[in-house]
């Protein structure tokens, strides 16, 4: 039973950093890397020992509707592995990058709180508890976005904070109405009660939750904060926000609530599909128009979230498989792209694509990994992004939406165009900078190379034998909520 340790370890690390760390950040950095390594290993250990069953942990020994329960199923482990992986590389990357800004232990404490919040959202089986841990993750994210200390960073953080507060309030209202209608907060118990209450209430609560979680996932039209927040934050934080946070707080929560609790009503699936396609197309166009490297990547995040939502909205087994796989892939290559942008920014001092160029010689590792990530995100074989997009597109064809399929393909071309712009102007055009020294450290290179390797290696998940033990159980969890319900309620 190591489930509560996914909360205890990062939380204890954060508090220890706050108590013990002095002026310097050596201790804080080492401790946080160690604990995120432990988290990743714990998640992998769970993956190998779990045997595709649902495990329930009773906190304080109170059973389901009375106390709070932690629930572990395939989806939980999958998300824990993503969080562990990205946070580990991000912390390794931070070591030099953050010293560039300031040497303060507070960064690492806030970072560990961010991980705590996300892990808490992932493992919990209680609606209000999900809200509380969501707040931990969000509040630390607000502070981390402003960490650079420049004017536009405060502006972005303020915008993000206001949006976050509004969305949290919506979610709390949804929780209140749901509590009034079902008189319980345990997700499984609510799922049990849903058939007994009026479908109109489900639609109202679903609409409110869609606004709340949609704001957190930055689905168009709720996306306005994301390009600012994700481009202003320090690079490792951008990678965390774009790579994991919007997925955990947005997509994961949507999956849990709309699929596992509400039982995937057709009405909402259609909304997901529509919003997904709109996000793909509009964010794709906006991405091409950007000249700021990180802003371009941020807009591209919105469009990739659109793909995940499209896959979920199709609702067939294949569609959900594609969505889950794309979620994993996007976490890897978008974080990698943000690491690249960060090291380019650190070396050249600018994020403006017009002012860069000819970085292939100067920064070989950065430019090569960036090329891999760009190809992967645009869906070029043999990288992982190709397979996930292909699955989503096939699912769209199978479900009888040729028009959506065409739009999704157009979206893929837009992504390619946007990322080629980065490659062309950022790395390959003639030299406009006078910088001759590459200050990327070993840790940063290590983080980038690891993720670039995973862009290749991620593709093997699609081999049927491996898919059977990795992705299929997750799709099973999402599609079939009765098992989850039965085990959590202990019958």
């Amino acid at each position: 039973m190591i489930l509560p340790f996914f909360i205890i370890i990062p939380l204890l690390t954060a508090f220890l950093i706050a108590i013990v760390a002095g002026k310097k950040d050596n201790f804080a950095n080492g401790l946080s890397i160690f604990s995120s390594l432990l988290l990743l290993l714990g998640a992998i250990y769970n993956f190998f020992t779990q045997n595709q069953e649902v495990i329930v942990y009773k906190i304080g020994n109170w059973k389901a509707p009375i106390g709070i329960n932690l629930v572990q199923d395939s989806l939980t482990i999958f998300m824990l592995i993503i969080v562990g992986l990205i946070s580990l590389t991000s912390l390794i990357y931070s070591r030099q990058y953050i010293r560039h800004i300031s040497t303060n232990w507070k960064y690492y404490a806030l970072f560990m709180f961010l991980i705590t919040g996300m892990n808490g959202v992932i493992v919990t089986g209680d609606l209000f508890n999900l809200f509380v841990f969501m707040e931990i993750a969000l509040i630390s994210a607000f502070a981390l976005v402003a960490y650079g200390g420049k004017a536009e960073e405060f502006e972005a953080a303020f915008k993000y904070a206001i949006m976050g507060v509004v969305s949290s309030t919506f979610i709390l209202v949804g929780i209140a109405i749901l509590y009034s209608a079902t008189s319980t907060l345990t997700l499984a118990k609510i799922a049990e009660q849903i058939p007994n209450i009026s479908y109109k209430i489900v639609y109202l609560v679903g609409g409110i939750f869609l606004m709340g979680f949609g704001l957190k996932a930055a689905i168009i039209p709720f996306h306005t904060w994301l390009p600012d927040a994700h481009s202003s934050a320090p690079a490792p934080i951008s990678a965390m926000l774009s790579g994991v946070l919007i997925k955990v707080l947005g997509i994961y929560a949507i999956i849990r609530i709309f699929f596992n609790v509400f039982g995937a009503p057709e009405f909402f699936l259609n909304i997901f599909m529509t919003l997904g396609v709109i996000s793909i197309l509009i964010a794709g166009f906006l991405a091409i128009a950007q000249w700021d490297m990180k802003r371009l990547l941020a807009y591209s995040s919105i469009s990739q979230i659109g793909y995940i939502l499209l896959g979920l909205g199709i609702g067939s087994t294949l569609g959900i498989l594609g969505a889950v796989f794309h979620l994993f892939n996007h976490a890897i290559f978008k974080s990698l792209l943000f690491y690249n942008a960060g090291s380019v920014e650190m070396t050249t001092g600018t994020r403006d694509l017009k002012k860069m160029g000819k970085l292939t010689k100067l920064m070989p590792v950065t430019s090569k990994t960036s090329m891999i990530a760009s190809l992967a995100i645009s869906g070029i074989p043999p990288f992982n992004g190709f397979f996930s997009k292909l699955i989503i597109i096939i699912a769209a064809i199978q479900s009888g939406h040729p028009f959506l399929t065409a739009l999704a393909v157009i979206g893929s071309i837009q992504t390619l165009a946007a990322l080629l712009k980065v490659q062309r102007f950022g790395f390959h055009s003639e030299n406009k900078t006078k910088i001759t020294k590459n200050i990327t450290s070993f840790g940063m290179k290590f983080a980038m190379i690891t993720l670039a390797f995973l862009c290749f290696a991620g593709a093997i998940v699609i081999i049927p034998e491996i898919k059977e033990v990795t992705l299929d159980p997750i799709v099973e969890v999402i599609n079939n909520n009765s098992e989850y319900m039965k085990i959590v309620l202990g019958r």
């Binding site: 709180f113 200390g149 319980t184």
Partner: protein
Amino acid sequence: MPIETWLIFILSFMIIGSIVALEIKDILSAVIAVGVVGLGVSLSFIFLQAPDLAIVQFLFEIFALIIMVRAFVKKDYHQEEPSKVNKILIGITIITLLAILYFTASILNLLPEFGEPLMNTAQYYLNNGASDTGAANLVTSIILDYRAYDTLGEVTVLFTAILGALTVLRIKSKSHR
């Protein structure tokens, strides 16, 4: 008078108070008007038999007022908002919000009536709370025993928020970055 009438009165007062707070030009008055709305919330908590919350809401109201006044009003920098606000935008916003209200009204009807909650889970706390946890205050028994994990999260939220505020306020930006 039945409690419902009192609450309707207080809530209408709070709505008016918050509209005043938003529309008034002077910022000190706006802060104080929101403070009054918060006290209205505290008063409603007393009517709704939630003394714990009434105390906490009242104290936090004072505290929020101190933060707001200390932060914004003493420095005499605050200038009036520019009067030319986009009328069309405001109109669209109000119409949208009224539409939301209209649709919600029909659905809120379907919830259990005021004063008659379902109490499926809650009845367990009322019956067994004292013998399970040994605390006479059942709200305390919930926040610190049945749902202590939530409270751990809440303490962490507070810690994070304060750490974040301290980080934000003490940042000295390095110019060359």
